[in-house]
Symmetry: C2
């Protein structure tokens, strides 16, 4: 392999900021959720998704697709959450392989009490820092980077 083009000074600045941001943000969010609601961001995602879906209409595979998660990741997390009493799984009526996921009362209470704090976190970190124009430019850049990566099969 020929010598690669290493990063120049300006590029290193971006890479450094990028890395701190990308690894730091999820950690901060996890911490906020753990502290204020005793849950992980994964659990929040699941509770939010199930609470918004039509009753008896959400299956593990749908979760895996919409969250872009591995099936087994979903399965492991659902098992833990079922153990905590946040959700229930029951055999799907239409597909013998499938399952329906439902929130228990405890699950509803948990997501309801966690949501306001979580939304505030997202607002205060992400939205309040940028103007409307900036937000749209920011979103476009993220999408651009991601679609280029997808095109090269690096995502």
């Amino acid at each position: 392999m020929s010598e690669p083009r290493w990063l120049n000074e300006e590029e290193q600045q971006l890479w450094l900021e990028f890395r701190e941001f990308l690894w730091g943000f999820p950690r901060s969010m996890d911490r906020q959720l753990a502290r204020d609601a005793g849950m992980s961001s994964g659990e929040y995602s699941v509770l939010a998704a199930v609470s918004q879906a039509a009753p008896d209409a959400l299956r593990p595979g749908d979760l895996a697709t919409s969250l872009e998660w591995d099936r087994s990741r979903v399965s492991h997390l659902l098992r833990r959450m079922e153990g905590k009493g946040l959700i229930e799984r029951c055999a799907s009526s239409c597909d013998g392989r499938g399952q329906d996921i439902k929130l228990t009362d405890a699950g509803w209470n948990t997501i309801r009490s966690a949501a306001p704090g979580h939304v505030s976190f997202v607002r205060e970190t992400l939205f309040d820092s940028l103007s409307g124009d900036e937000r749209e430019r920011f979103r476009a850049m993220l999408a651009k980077i991601r679609s280029a990566a997808v095109e090269r099969e690096l995502w």
Copy 2:
């Protein structure tokens, strides 16, 4: 608590893209490193940091600071990497509590052979998608968001 301001349509778009990006990018990078170099991004960070430091001048605490990692995370990873023969730890000469971290020959070979592919990945995903102007604006936005979060002690 009063009813929070939920996200409007435009905000949800950004949040969705943001989430896919922030959780997806590290995963893609981990996959590239695992596939092409048999290592995790954490191991890469450590090898890169140690290889760039002055000999016998890098200690676990320095790593924790510069990578913004928990001390125990550093300790766990160093133990595993020592087990794989990538690094060595020896008692520091000046501070009885401290240690010096050194790369073994295997460690040097590993980082040297992994670096080109990793840099290509970063270039192709992050830099090639944005113009010089866009890169600078992007970096500034990340920094803005992060510093606002730091200010509110949410980071």
